[in-house]
């Protein structure tokens, strides 16, 4: 189940395909979603900045307009006095004028008049108990205007009449000599200004406020009376503006006790005020949160659906491939009749068709091959049979011909008795030879089953040489033995080995008709000793512990080069009277024992047959 050497599990093609889709989906979709979300958030923040600053500017403009009405009316009152349209000594006329002004501008909180003698008129009126103790000459609007000798804006102070904070715009009224003798003023209640700010919609929970720069006090705020019960909120607003001023920004995010706020401001230089707009980030973060949730849901949904689609797509793509693979497997198991059926009109369908055509073609080729093989095998069999038959016929016909002629001598009574006797002996001799030929043939054609046991080949060779001592002497052959002292044991059938060595030694003796030297060498060889060579006619098994090499050399006539490759074929013989089965039997027995044999020969000098037996370490 794992890839060789990597330790990774083997994963099928379709699963890899599916994983590829998934990797694409899991990387691509969230990346698109997240980048979209970030872009949206950035755009939203820009919109908030624009909206906040725009609101602050608009408020500043409205405040400017609102204050301008007060200052213009104050100047108008002053001019009415200076143009003698109103007599300051006619208190009734003065009151009527102020009352009519209040009707025209109902949003003017208080319209005031105070003169140098301490006379004070206000519309709407003060409470009498306050009025009795009130002197305009000590009020900031009066002193300020008198000092400035022109239009004057007070700082925020508390109105005596309403106990509310406010500012007053005032102007001195000059007499004909240009000397100020009275002051007219109009109060602006900061609650009224705050109510105006309350109407300004800034997000869901945002609001505008006005801060006095000199004192850092919040002078207008939608929740002004309650604001001063909440010093932390005042602190936050002043800190926000201070932080923005410090960073030289008109808009920015500030944090207060873990909450995020967006604040923007503009300067209102006329009164040295700051008009600020602040809104909690949660106002739009709520929406952002909703968008975030929706985005995540959509991404997860899209990932899920895309995964499902990928799975289905993978199945669609992989199914014909799986069918194709199944077809390959069936056909590779030999079922060439199997037809791969793929319902795909694309490349895989074409591939399946081509594959079916190929398998049909393969089937035809195989049938043809089988036919050819059968024919060839039949022919080879017939040829082998013919060769065998010819060999047998040859081996039998010659003795039979001798036996026929000898039998004719035996039955011919006219022939002398010794001749008839010799002819009879010939017949017996030929029968013996014939019998031996048949034995050899049977030994070749039907070799006896090997009975493997631990076999000491050295002892075996010694025994053979001793038993054949008479034949060596008769043939004038000198035997030289070069045998190692402690040879390894071989696993072999001793009888068959005896037959091998006897055949090889007899061949050597027959190769020296005029006598010579027969050398038998026996030595241990390590694996790898025998390499590929033309001399080697049969390779031994490769994985033995060691090998025992037995070489039988003669100083005989040698083998002609053209015959070297034929000497192990049955019925091939260069000797008169030989069956040609000896070396064939040797070859057959050695093959059974997984032993090897090599032949080296030099015509006129002799031959060496070297046998290599596989041995194992069990001496």
């Amino acid at each position: 189940m794992s890839l060789a050497g990597t330790g990774l599990p083997r994963i099928s093609f379709q699963f890899r395909l599916f994983l590829s889709f998934l990797v694409l989906i899991f990387c691509f979709l969230p990346a698109v979603g997240i980048s979209g979300f970030i872009q949206w958030r950035k755009s939203l923040e820009e919109q908030i900045e624009y909206h906040s600053l725009n609101t602050a500017f608009q408020i500043a403009e409205q405040v400017k307009t609102y204050l301008a009405k007060h200052s213009e009316s104050t100047l108008m009152i002053k001019e009415a006095f200076e143009a003698d349209l109103i007599d300051p000594n006619d208190r009734g006329e003065l009151l009527k004028f102020f009352l009519s002004l209040k009707k025209i501008y109902p949003y003017f909180v208080n319209i005031n008049y105070g003169d140098e003698k301490g006379y004070f008129l206000m519309v709407p009126p003060q409470r009498p108990e306050i009025h009795k103790l009130f002197d305009p000459r000590v009020r900031p609007w009066y002193t300020g205007a008198m000092k400035e000798r022109g239009l004057y804006w007070t700082e925020v102070y508390i109105f005596a009449s309403s106990q509310r904070p406010g500012i007053t715009v005032s102007s001195p009224i000059l007499d004909t000599q240009g000397r100020p003798f009275a002051v007219s003023s109009i109060d602006i209640d900061l609650f009224t200004l705050s109510r105006f700010l309350k109407k300004v919609k800034v997000g869901q929970h945002g609001y505008a406020f006005i801060m006095e720069n000199d004192t850092g006090r919040i002078i207008a705020h939608p929740e002004l009376p309650e604001l001063y019960e909440n010093p932390s909120e005042i602190n936050r607003l002043t800190k926000s503006i201070s932080a923005l001023r410090h960073s030289k920004k008109e808009f920015g995010a500030t944090f207060d006790r873990g909450r995020k706020f967006f604040t923007a401001y503009v300067d209102y230089a006329q009164n040295n005020w700051t008009i600020g707009v602040t809104l909690p980030a949660s106002d739009f973060m709520g929406n952002l949160g909703k968008v975030k949730q929706a985005s995540i849901t959509i991404i997860i949904g899209a990932v899920f659906l895309a995964s499902l689609m990928s799975y289905l797509l993978m199945r669609t793509v992989a199914r014909p491939l799986k069918e194709l693979r199944k077809g390959f497997e069936t056909i590779s198991q030999g079922d060439l009749d199997h037809e791969v059926i793929v319902r795909d009109r694309g490349i895989i369908g074409s591939l399946a068709k081509s594959f079916n055509r190929m398998s049909q073609s393969l089937k035809k080729s195989r049938e043809e091959l089988e036919r050819t093989y059968r024919t060839l095998a039949e022919k080879e069999k017939m040829a082998a049979l013919g060769q065998l038959t010819a060999g047998i016929a040859h081996e039998i016909r010659n003795p039979l011909a001798i036996m026929l002629s000898s039998a004719q001598v035996v039955v011919n009574e006219a022939k002398p008795a010794h001749m008839r006797r010799e002819a009879g002996l010939f017949i017996i001799e030929e029968i013996k030879r014939l019998n031996k030929t048949l034995d050899d043939f049977l030994a070749f054609a039907r070799p006896a089953k090997s009975n493997l046991s631990d076999c000491n080949l050295i002892d075996l060779l010694d025994g053979i040489v001793e038993s054949m001592q008479g034949q060596f002497e008769a043939a004038g052959v000198e035997v030289v033995k070069k045998i190692m002292a402690q040879p390894p044991l071989c696993r072999a059938d001793c009888n068959q080995m005896r037959q091998v060595f006897i055949n090889l030694i007899l061949n050597a003796v027959h190769a020296m008709p005029h006598g010579g030297r027969l050398t038998i060498r026996c030595s241990e060889k390590s694996p790898g000793t025998w390499t590929s060579s033309k001399r080697i006619k049969l390779q031994p098994m490769a994985d033995a512990d060691c090998y025992l090499e037995v070489a039988v050399s003669d100083t005989g006539v040698g083998i002609p080069p053209e015959d070297v490759d034929k000497i192990f074929e049955p019925f091939f013989s260069t000797k008169d009277g030989g069956t040609g089965l000896g070396l064939a039997i040797v070859y057959q027995i050695l093959k059974i024992h997984q032993a090897g044999i090599a032949v080296s020969t030099e015509p006129g000098l002799g031959s060496t047959f070297t046998v290599l037996f596989p041995c194992f370490f069990r001496r």
Binding site: M1, P128, I130, Y228, Q293, Y311
Partner: protein, 295 residues
Amino acid sequence: MLCQEKNLTKRFTSILFRTFLLYVFLLGCSDPVQQESTPRTRNNELFYLYGYGVPVLGSAKEQLNYALSRFSELEERKAALEAVGKLFPKARIERAEAELELAYLSLGDDFRMASESRCRQAISKYESILREFPDLSPVCAKARWYIAWIYMDLLHDKRRGIENYKRVVAEYPHEGFLPSPRLHWQEIFARQARRETTFLLAKEQWAALALLELARNLNDPKEKIQAVEQLMSYYPASRAVVYGLMILLERHPVSQQAIEMAKEYLASGNAYLPLAVYVRRRLQELSSGLQNRRK
């Protein structure tokens, strides 16, 4: 092998599907995005009077403060004030305060334009307050002072005015009220949270104010001086003193006693400095005038 791969794919798909279901489930279980809520009024219940819905608050004090502070429209304010008595009939102090305010409002938007009938109506209301709440001295002091003021300043009935001012001085020598001190407005707002009816945190006395009015309106110069003397003696810290002295110093001829009294006032630690300037200036004028006359 094929079977194992198939199982692996199935398992993966199953895990993916389960994860999706789990997310949908958690999404359903999670709280919706927390929206900030604006603080609601303490009570949504409304008490309807003259077509105005007055919110019903938790206590008589709250109800009174609401009525005193929230309205620019006269009729709506009247409804809110009447609601105090109707919603909290047993809260006598708050009810009396509301009644005082209602009596004042009966003069209309601007008392300077009030008709005689309105003035009489107001006096009648103040008198009924005096009858209904005789045990509440601060309330009675204010009511008596207002009666005197209406007689004097609006109806120009000097006799009754003086009579009532004298009663204020005699009957309520220590009852005070909060005038309009120049305070840092932040302090005011910090104080607003615990602010109750203003006259309970008095700094000025109705009697001092009555003495000032007596000094202003009495014809006899001696009585005038006596009124200011009384003012200086009993209410030396009152701002009314400086106004009383200025009245005396503006008269012709200015008595030496008045000058002495002014000097004494300026030398004392109780002088109201913003106006003391004008007293000092007047004294300098008088001094230079006297020297000129001697020359």
